[in-house]
Subunit: 223 residues, 2 copies
Amino acid sequence: MITLHNLENSQSIRIIWLMEELGAEYEIKHYGRAGPNGMAPDDFKKLHPVGTSPTITDGALTLVETNAIVDYILDQNPNSALRPKAGSVERVPYLYWLHAAQGSFQPLLTDTLVFKRLVSKTPFVLRPVIRLVLGKAEAVLLKPRLAKILDLAEETLCQSRWLAGEKLTAADIVMGYCLEVAEVRVGFDGKYPAIEGFLKRMRARPHHKQAMFKNGLFDPIAD
Amino acid sequence: MITLHNLENSQSIRIIWLMEELGAEYEIKHYGRAGPNGMAPDDFKKLHPVGTSPTITDGALTLVETNAIVDYILDQNPNSALRPKAGSVERVPYLYWLHAAQGSFQPLLTDTLVFKRLVSKTPFVLRPVIRLVLGKAEAVLLKPRLAKILDLAEETLCQSRWLAGEKLTAADIVMGYCLEVAEVRVGFDGKYPAIEGFLKRMRARPHHKQAMFKNGLFDPIAD
C-alpha cells in the first residue's frame, strides 16, 4: 500500500486528490513545517536523497517528483480515464497540460515567489535596488510567460469543461494546484473567467473536498 | 510526418536525438536566433501561442513542451524500449529521471543562467549589490538542490550504464541535455566521474553524433 508523506502546505495535495479520485487505498503521514523559513523537518528530508515534496513510499520504494508519482500511481490503475489512452482525442492536450504544469508553469510560479522573498529578505537600505532589478526581471521574464500559459488555459477552458476534454484527467489535478497558486500569486483581475469556472468546478468535486479535508489546512500563498 | 521546428541553441536537440534513436522519419526546419539577446525569431514564435522550443508540427497539430513531445512521439512507437513498460524494473527510475529532468533539474539550471544574466545586465554601480544578493540566493537555493540531483545521478550511474538500467531510454535523452548544461554552467570539478562517463557514452553513440550533425552548432553555454 502507498504511503503519502504529506508535507504541510506543499504540492502533495495533488497526490491526495488523485488517490481520492481513484478511490485507491493509501495512508497519509503528516509532516509539519518548522523554523522561521518553514523548512521541511529532518524526518521528512531523510525519506529520499532529494528530500522534496511530494514523497511516497510503497514497500521498499521511495519516490519523489510530482509527475513521476502521478505516472507511477496511474500505472497501477491502467483503466482509469484519468490518463487518456495513446491515440485518443484527449491524449495530446492531456500530455501538454500534464508536462507544461511542471516543466513550464510551476517553475515560473516558483520564481515569482523566490523574487518576492529575495526582495523582502534584503536589508532595508539595499531593498530599493533589489526591487528595481528583480521587478524588471519579473516584468520581462516571468509575467509574459505566465500570461501566455494562462491565456492558453483560458482559451482551452472556453472550449471544454476540463483541460483535456469533457472528463477530468490527471492533467487537471496537476494544473489545478498551479492555477490556484497563480490566482493568489499572480492575480487574475477578472481576465480569466473560464479558469475561475474551472477552479469552482474543481473545488465542488466531492473527491477534491475530501482531499482538502484529509490534507488539513491548505494555504497556497505560503508567504 | 513530424516536422521539428529547430530553434538554434535550444532544448530541441533532444527531439532530434530521440528521432534518430527511433529511426523515425521526420523533417527539420531550422530557425536562427536574432538580436542582442538571442531571441527566437517571429516566425518561430508564431508557430504556437506559447512560442517555446522545442516545437513540433504533425499535420494540423502543433505541440510544445519537451516531455509532452517525447510522450507524443513514443505513443507513435509503442514497442520502443526507449519508454519502459509499466511494471518493468526500469519503469520507476525511468519515470523519476524523465520527470525530474524537466520538473526540477532544468528549472534550477535555468535560474542559474537567469541570476548570472541579471548580474551582468545590471548597471555597473549597482552590480555589487545584485551580485551579493543573487550570489547568496544561488548558494542557498540553487546549488544545494542541483548538487542533490547530481549526487543521485552519480550514484545511479555507478550502478547502471544508463539512468534507468542497462539500456538507453528517453529519460537519458532528456537528462543528457541537462547534464551537458550542468557540466558547463555548474561545473563538475572531478566530483562526478560516473556522469562524465555517461556523457562520453552518450556522445559516442552514432545516433547522437548524427543528431548533433543535423542540429548544427550546439553551444550549451549560450551566454
